[in-house]
């Protein structure tokens, strides 16, 4: 125990000295040649299917920017730590990123539970936080939002818009919802209920599953028994694909409506023929539908070939990072927290390589308030509607 103590003390002393030296620098995480940013993601464990490609997309894009000379002569350094999707580890990671690494901004951080767990620390330490990857609705009414910039999806609005569209344009009278039993799925369900109430149609069943479930035969039968015209999916790709196949197997073929989280080209392989004629929401042009996005994807795949297997999440990572990069560009060579925030507030309907229509303002931190609908047809997603806007909540 004594040896352990000695090591701990030694490490502590060195770190304290390092921290003291860094405090003399003008702004945490910014030097003449470098900007340090950090993220905490599930890079191992059950949610790694999301965290790994998102982080990979960000890193590949940053490498490209650095190869082009960085932004205002500063190279970017992204420190990505693994939290295995566990809140205590996310908290430790964020504290380490702020206290030890000394980051200028926190980018990403996946999952609503993790975002909630680190929220107070981030606000108290006035850390810039760009795109916590969790339902945007959780920030509505949140007071400490000055250094927070969100261009992530609002699942409540998405669910409402999908349901209203189904009632108006697809002749749907009754809907059933298959949802993941966490905030993602529950917010989607709430949105569907609101949309159904507004369009005067009925939600006849809400069937949940847990992220760890691998067997959905009972859920498929339950959905069939509800006899709904349409089934709305708020699921991850595996569960979504399996329940769609399960329903088809027992002879139930409702109209399928789905969250943007499943607007993934991989779904065609996972769900097979059943993934045809599905109506989905989308926030940025999906891979395979837009030249600029495809070019971006091709670029990052050259840097990291593994990203080709999860193109949707990889370009998603870029979409979450891009507004931050634009803020750096606009803030100019004299980069401080204040100049960055001012610069971010000038974004008006800004299009990046992947992200589209980002707007912030002095009182506005919700960067996206529109989506459009697509339909899956023979292995491709085809645009169905123009942009549909929803109210800005924060």
């Amino acid at each position: 125990m004594k040896t352990v103590m000695r090591i701990v003390l030694a490490v502590a002393l060195v770190t304290a000295l390092a921290a003291a030296t860094m405090a003399q620098a003008q702004e945490r995480g910014v030097s003449a040649t470098e900007v340090i940013i950090g993220t905490s993601q599930p890079l191992s464990g059950g949610a790694a299917f999301w965290g790994v490609p998102v982080t990979g997309g960000m890193e590949a894009w940053i490498r490209l920017i650095n190869e082009q000379g960085g932004i205002h002569g500063r190279r970017l350094r992204l420190v990505a730590l693994d939290d295995s999707y566990l809140p205590p580890r996310a908290v430790v990671n964020v504290r380490e990123l702020v206290d030890r690494v000394g980051i200028f901004a926190l980018v990403g951080l996946l999952g609503s539970a993790n975002a909630f767990a680190v929220r107070d620390f981030v606000v108290e330490n006035q850390v810039l936080w760009i795109n916590p990857l969790a339902d945007a609705n959780m920030w509505a009414g949140f007071r400490g939002k000055r250094s927070l910039f969100v261009s992530y999806v609002s699942y409540v609005d998405e669910g409402r818009i999908l349901t209203e569209y189904a009632a108006k344009n697809m002749g749907v009278k009754t809907v059933a919802v298959f949802y993941q039993n966490d905030l993602f799925g529950q917010k989607g369900l709430l949105g569907v209920k609101r949309g159904a109430a507004a369009a005067k149609i009925k939600v006849v069943a809400a069937v949940p599953y847990e992220l760890t479930d691998r067997e959905f035969s009972a859920q498929a039968v339950k959905l069939r028994e509800s006899g709904a015209d349409a089934v709305v999916l708020y699921a991850n790709p595996t569960a979504g694909a399996l329940v769609v196949r399960g329903m088809r197997q027992i002879g139930y073929a409702p109209k399928l409506i789905s969250t943007s989280a499943l607007a993934d080209p991989a779904m065609f392989a996972l769900a097979g023929d059943a993934w045809n004629g599905v109506t989905l929401a989308a926030y940025f042009p999906l891979p395979g539908t837009d030249a600029r996005v495809d070019e971006t994807l091709a670029t990052i795949v050259r840097i990291n070939p593994a990203l080709a297997r999860q193109p949707f999440n990889a370009v998603g990572g870029i979409a979450f990072l891009e507004p931050f990069l634009e803020g750096l560009r606009r803030a100019g060579p004299n980069l401080t927290r204040a100049s960055f925030i001012t610069a971010m507030e000038t974004l008006r309907n800004w299009d990046g390589n992947v992200a589209r229509g980002i707007t912030f303002g002095p009182d506005r931190r919700q960067g996206i308030n529109k989506l459009y609908l697509v339909r899956s047809e023979n292995g491709r997603y085809v645009r169905l509607t123009p942009d549909i806007t929803y109210p800005v909540a924060f």
Partner: protein, 355 residues
Amino acid sequence: MAGNAAAWAGGGDPAEKLRRVELRERYEDDLFLVRGPAGWVAAAVLAGGLAALPLVAPKYLIYIASLVAVNAVIAVGLNVLVGYTGQISLGHAGFVAIGAYAFGIVAARIPWTPAAGAWGVPWIAGLIAAGAVSAVFGLLVGLPALRLTGPYLTIATLGFGIAVHQVLINWEWLSGGRAGLFVPKLTFAGRPLGDAEIYWIALIVSAALTVLAFHIVRSYVGRAFVAIRDSDIAAEVMGVSLTTYKTTAFAVSAAYAGLGGGLYAIVLHYLEPNQFTLLESITYFSMIVVGGLGTIPGSVLGAALLTILPLEFSGFRQWQPVVYGLAIIVVMALEPRGVYGRWLKIKRWFKTWPF
């Protein structure tokens, strides 16, 4: 030293072996927590060093130290059950969750008067509730344990842990469901407590509970636990009531887990059911085995090791499980009796030097 280590690597009774490693001659020697002036000096230095940590260490290290203190409480309690009484639990995250939510609900939902809030009444009441509620559940889980052993008890406790998790997810009125439950920050004398003060609270509670555990296992209750572990039939024949002591062991262990859960709520400020899954139960279990079954200091060492290792490995990213898994295998292969066994061997080497 290598030669000595090999000499100790034979078969035999683990307790006997540790006793030989510690060079104890009389049973009474076993009963003292701190032995001799050197022992007291070491204990004082350790206590002083741990208490002074916030003065020298950066904030994130203090936070990690707080997490270690929390997990140490849970591990010590689990070792009383597994290491001393021989009852397996793979559902301890359930007890931790019950304690954490009991704390959260008492601290957040009860309309405390501002005066009570200012003097820290809510969180003291919360901690008491955390230990008490969890202990009651410990008694309940202890009842089926009267009939079950080995894998059967493992599954029964594992089922308990999963049941607690599912109830917390789906009973939103109670737990806030997947949206979680925010635990108010601690205040004392009308002022919110900082990271350092929270660490001191966790440290004091954790140290007090560790010392208490020493006293429990060296009392007649502890000897009854050990008797049940070594042979429950023989223990019963000699007049140790299995019903009383098995359920007591579960209750004590659950109370520790509950208190650990309460501290966890204090340290993290936010509770969500997925923080208390089977994975956590397995981690607690690994802590005591890696640290040393049937040893209190081993529990603390194991808790420290398995809390710090994954955090240190967080920069390894996708390699993290590989490195972490290898680390566990290597530690267990080199130190089959846990890390504490190695510490004793080092201590003895110094004591007997130059022989």
